[in-house]
């Protein structure tokens, strides 16, 4: 079945094309629009994009396979990326991955049997100060522990991705408690020292006693 974008997204393509002097430059933005609609970049999507941007399918496919975030196979309803690069691993990234594998019943690189979650390992997602963390679909969930992770996954399964993100997703924050630290810290945060201005992420409660390996005690 041939793929086509919704009329609204077609209009977005027209607008995107005005941003660049060359048609080809719209390739990544148009692939994103397609993936948001279709879930993955199927061969039909490749054909559509190639025709729309007047490129060969080989060129489109070559670009799709270069970038980690374009899926050339179907994925689950939600895609969970667990960061396993050094800063996260120092704070328990491995435990987060193992917990997810147990909870979702599939190993990294696979989709849960109910089709709701695809679990993938990610390289550094640039949230190192709020480690460990996962990305689910378009959102980051930071300063994780196992209990919080359970709530996040359950919320996705029960209420859907949008409601889960509204309740639990994080962004680079200042002063606003992270969902990972909703229980008030047992001690007050340290006063600013010297010219220090603390920015992202209040320390999660009990961070002083966090096992750096992230192992469940």
């Amino acid at each position: 079945m041939a793929f086509s974008l919704s009329p609204e997204r077609e209009r977005q393509v027209d607008e995107i094309l005005t941003r660049y002097p060359e048609r080809r430059a719209a390739l990544l933005p148009v692939l994103w629009l397609c993936q948001r609609q279709h879930g993955w970049i199927s061969p039909d999507v490749v054909d559509y994009v190639a025709a729309r941007l007047e490129l060969s399918t080989a060129i489109v496919k070559g670009v799709v396979t270069f970038y980690t975030m374009f899926f050339d196979e179907p994925v689950g309803e939600n895609v969970v990326w667990v960061c396993r690069t050094l800063s996260c691993d120092l704070r328990g990234g491995k435990a987060i991955q193992e917990h997810l594998e147990k909870k979702l019943g599939c190993t990294a690189g696979h989709t849960s049997s109910d089709g709701k979650f695809t679990l993938l390992k990610a390289e550094c997602l640039a949230a190192c100060g709020q480690a460990p963390m996962v990305q689910i679909n378009d959102h980051y969930y930071e300063n994780l522990n196992v209990e919080l992770l359970d709530r996040i996954i359950d919320a996705h399964a029960e209420k859907g991705a949008e409601a889960a993100a509204a309740e639990l997703a994080t962004f680079a924050s200042f002063g606003k408690p992270q969902p990972g630290s909703q229980t008030p810290p047992t001690s007050a945060p340290p006063p600013p020292t010297r010219e220090a201005v603390r920015l992202a992420s209040q320390p999660p409660p009990g961070s002083e006693t966090t096992n750096p390996r992230g192992e469940e005690s």
Partner: protein, 458 residues
């Protein structure tokens, strides 16, 4: 001890809904841009940025004012500004805070920069994972457009400026400026041969300036204070201003801190990040992203000669040298992005090294053989060492592979892999030899599951 500085880059971070135009403007946003565009000449603004001695905040530390000076457009050429927001270097997480918490500072900096260098269009290339930040930037741009700060006549002057956000799709290499330009043009993110440099032939074959998010976000303060005054905020000569430092890993309060250029790593860890987690001893710190060679606090600076740039710190610990582009280069490492990864004495350095080398193996674009193959071999040898299948010669093999990668490729990715690899072996050789003899004990590994390739899920 110096007097506390008034926060500059981060001054609006704590305000309620700091990302909205209303909040940002009530705290002074766009005043500098308005004055600059309506009363000052582009050449004057370029001069201020030059005098500010701002070293590029993306990691390489090239003076931004000098980079701007390379522009020499030919007849009929259009200049582009490209803002690198592909923040992906392991350990680095500062640019996201600017986009999430004060996008209008970035946009104001971009407007002034476009006017100064004569660019009618700027693209902000954001890594694809940061969908939330992209959304926030888009909203902020819409507000700025609505307010008349962008478009055909920004602030009523006859110099069209438009800014677009361009989303990447998951590729560390797209932070390399020429790979970024290829990606922006709709190609695979493979770096280009230089020369020609982007300032001569960049995006769409036109002269292009590529600057980091934090560099551009510093421009409003530079123009407001004047380049000389802003430069003097730093504790070091030739490396001006303030910057956003990050700390992750084994500290009590990981996060971001604004401070002058030239604080020491010891200050950053103890005074800003609250000291070591659980008060354990500091074993090693990667100073500015994974590509910067590791520092060992037990090592002393060896600079007996009076003409040595680090003579002042002779005999002191490596972590007591002020953090600057030039001081850190003299120390044999790099300042990078100023976002440190702190490791306590529970970390096995062979394992930490293996974690990072897997990152490079995954992210190598595959264009050049020494990088594509070398990153894979480094991981294979490290896997053997960790699993107890290694030999003592393997340690020198790591050095040999790294040396054959350095300088033999199109871009600096291979150097960025080889340098930290060499630094690890140089400073923690005994630990590598130990691993060659006995492997790394199960309990000490923090990453011993097989990493499946994430491309092509399911």
């Amino acid at each position: 001890m110096s007097e506390p500085n008034k926060p500059l880059l981060t001054s609006r971070y704590g305000l309620a809904e700091s990302w909205t135009l209303a909040t940002a403007e009530s705290a002074g946003a766009y005043q500098v841009a308005r004055t600059a565009l309506t009363t000052r000449k582009p050449a004057e603004l370029k001069e201020e940025v030059k005098k500010a001695n701002i070293r590029g905040r993306g990691g390489a530390g090239f003076p931004a004012g000098v980079k701007w000076g390379f522009l020499n457009p030919q007849e009929g050429e259009q200049i582009y500004l490209v803002i690198n927001a592909d923040e992906s270097e392991p350990g680095t997480f500062k640019d996201r805070s600017i986009m999430d918490l004060d996008p209008h500072r970035l946009i104001e900096g971009a407007i002034i920069s476009c006017y100064a260098i004569g660019a009618p269009v700027a693209y902000i290339y954001v890594r694809g994972e940061l969908a939330f930040s992209i959304n926030r930037l888009e909203q902020a741009l819409a507000e700025a457009r609505q307010a008349g700060y962008l478009g055909a006549r920004p602030f009523g002057i006859d110099h069209p400026i438009d800014i677009y956000v361009h989303s990447g799709a998951g590729a560390y290499i797209c932070g390399e400026e020429t790979a970024l330009l290829n990606s922006l043009e709709g190609r695979r993110g493979e770096p280009r041969l230089k020369p020609p440099f982007p300032a001569v032939k960049g995006v769409f074959g036109m002269p292009t300036i590529v600057n980091n998010v934090e560099t551009i976000a510093s421009v409003p303060d530079i123009v407001e204070m004047g380049g000389d005054a802003w430069s003097a905020l730093s504790r070091l000569p030739g490396d001006g201003g303030v910057r956003i430092y990050g700390v992750s890993g084994h500290v009590k309060n990981p996060g971001l801190f604004e401070a002058p250029v030239g604080i020491t790593m010891r200050e950053l860890i103890d005074d800003y990040a609250g000291g070591m987690l659980g008060d354990r001893p500091l074993k090693a710190v990667i100073p500015g992203g994974s590509s910067t060679p590791v520092l060992d606090p037990r090592r002393k600076v060896d600079a007996p000669g009076e003409d040595h740039p680090l003579h002042k710190w002779h005999g002191m610990s490596e972590i007591d040298v002020p953090m600057g582009v030039d001081t850190y280069r003299a120390l044999g490492t790099m300042l990078g992005t100023c976002c440190a990864i702190v490791m306590d004495d529970s970390v096995n350095m062979v394992e930490a090294c293996r974690n990072l080398m897997r990152f490079y193996k995954h992210e190598s674009c595959g264009q050049c053989t020494p990088c594509r193959e070398g990153t894979g071999w480094l991981v294979d040898v490290l896997d053997n060492l960790v699993r107890g299948r290694g030999k003592p010669e393997d340690v020198d093999l790591l050095v040999n592979i790294a040396n054959n990668m350095m300088g033999n490729t199109i871009c600096a990715f291979a150097d960025g892999t080889a340098m930290p690899m060499l630094g690890m072996v140089q400073k923690f050789r005994a630990e590598f030899m130990q691993a060659a003899a006995d492997g790394v004990p199960e309990g000490v590994r923090h990453d011993d599951s097989v990493r499946t390739m994430v491309e092509g899920a399911a």
